[in-house]
Symmetry: C2
Subunit: 341 residues, 2 copies
């Protein structure tokens, strides 16, 4: 891969990103100051190397997944984000009362808006949270709310019907026992410790211990399994504006996948133990859909961690998204520092 070949590939990728149309040799002559035949020769080589493909024998070239990968790893240049993009995001950074997770969500909404891609926030993951406390709040009509909080600031509530023969005081008493004994327990272990440690204790003290045990068990279980609230998708239909999704079957397929929050979560959180680097999953690499690219950044801000990601066509504006995600990450981090002062 000599110099010219590199910049030819770069040109092909970037032109295709802009136009969504196969790139022909003639269009590139002017940029390289040579004839179309020369370009054709070079393109034939790029094709042999697997970086570009043809849709049919006489069509222009389209980057292959290998080509995109080579592009993002070797050819893509970092670029500052534009002033107008910057302006829109800074409005959010400036609002200090916003809790981090709300600020992130709003940033990603804006990114969706300005890029016509779909974006995802995978909020704080409760799995590595520890129990901070559980509070029972009595409502009218034989109902209680169990509010579960973790040390990382995840809070969820769940309402329960309680049978007539159970007194609310007993539930509260149980919650106090749990708070005394289980604080600091990783949230996904609370279930078993509840069974092994708490159940024997309340068995002695409380009559209807079985029912009460079930209530708490359900509350925690729901908490652990309730991924839904952790995932926030913006601009779910934005990606449909991209010209590649111009066919009914394709559209339906993608719409279905984008509805499945669990699936999105799984995908966005792959390579868990990876660094904070931006990761780019192109096409099949995404394990989501062969026709999309997912660009992802993990954040660790203020003790919270999570993931932000953008889902777009393989012909995605890689530069732009990478710099937008980095910009969001940096600025929310800064915001924290200023805040703490």
């Amino acid at each position: 891969m000599d110099d010219r070949r590199n910049s030819l590939l770069k040109e092909i990728v970037e032109t295709y990103i802009k136009t969504a149309k196969p790139v022909g040799s003639k269009a590139l002559c002017s940029k390289f100051d040579c004839s179309s035949a020369t370009i054709r020769n070079e393109m034939a080589i790029l094709e042999d190397l697997g970086y570009v493909e043809k849709n049919h024998i006489s069509s222009g070239r389209v980057p292959s997944e290998k080509g995109y990968r080579y592009y993002v790893e070797n050819l893509m240049e970092a670029e500052k984000i534009t002033g107008s993009d910057m302006l829109k995001l800074q409005k959010i950074f400036a609002n200090k009362e916003l809790v981090l997770s709300d600020a992130i969500t709003k940033c990603m909404e804006i990114i969706s808006e300005i890029t016509n891609y779909t974006s995802v926030v995978l909020g704080k993951n409760s799995s590595d949270n520890a129990l901070l406390q559980v509070n029972i709040i009595a409502l009218a009509d034989n109902q209680v709310v169990a509010v579960v909080c973790t040390d990382k600031g995840v809070v969820e509530n769940k309402i329960f019907n309680i049978p007539d023969n159970i007194s609310i005081n007993e539930i509260i008493k149980t919650s106090e026992i749990i708070n005394k004994l289980l604080v600091g327990t990783p949230i996904n272990q609370v279930g078993t410790r509840l069974e092994n440690e708490i159940k024997p204790i309340i068995k002695k003290q409380i009559q209807q211990y079985e029912t009460i045990y079930n209530i708490f068990y359900d509350a925690f279980n729901d908490f652990v399994s309730n991924n839904t609230s952790n995932v926030h998708i913006s601009g779910r239909t934005k990606i449909f504006e991209q010209p590649e999704y111009n066919d009914v079957a394709e559209l339906k397929r993608l719409a279905n996948k984008l509805e499945d929050v669990n699936f999105i979560e799984k995908v966005s959180s792959k390579d868990e133990n990876d660094t904070n680097e931006i990761k780019i999953y192109i096409g099949d690499e995404s394990e989501f859909d062969p026709n999309v690219t997912i660009i992802r950044k993990k954040y660790h801000i203020n003790g919270e961690d999570g993931t932000i990601a953008v889902i777009g066509p393989k012909r995605m504006d890689y530069q732009r998204i990478v710099s937008l995600l980095e910009y969001v990450d940096e600025n929310l981090d800064n915001r924290k520092e200023n805040d703490g002062k």
Copy 2:
């Protein structure tokens, strides 16, 4: 509209519901024991009356909106739901630990699943709720959770960053004042009473009253404006399986509308002051999209009220949906009675 004409229209509507294809005269001969020419004569009259339409001069007939309306008002027969549908729903009715709103949501998920339509639950509307209590729970790291509960059992929580110069005790103190003075206040009036009654009080007792006031103001405001959590849509993409949405533009348009939760809420809650009757909005009547029908039932169960609705094509299986919605409503209501015993 004599007898035969009625049953002809009924037949046309029901056949079209089943097949999604314009209904021709020949197909109906056997049912009416006459020649296709006779049917054609009758169909011409139905067309003059505006109950059916042709796509082009030589096509079969398709019900018009007026035709559907006449059908649902005069021709449709109530039918028991099938055993297998019943079975699926009864699993949910049987689970007594489920809070009503969860049970309803699960029912509608099933209805979406078995019918290939999209369904909506418009949960308890906080606007006519009254404040029951607000609880402040301290988290680590200068954060508190405000948990707002209403008398109707709506609970929401919101996390706040609190500046260093504010003590958590002062916030809790304020919450106690609010609980003492504002319990029973309609939730949408809490904001103004906070301003007029609480602010003057805490001004005297608390140093950083302005910041604390803002926190509570935001918490309640968020609660009131946060419609999102009230709306639950199941099977958003199910409706795309219907053959009428077989065109890219149509699909995108509908997908966009179904993303807009506020829009759906507005539509599902129209004719607020109407009875509990099932309402059917056909095509343009829906004010949502000319190509859909919305069937809706309000429920008032156990003091809670809300709306369940199904969104499908105009060629929707009216009978089936009507009986499903009624079945759900009745059985969840029963469940309550048995429960209270």
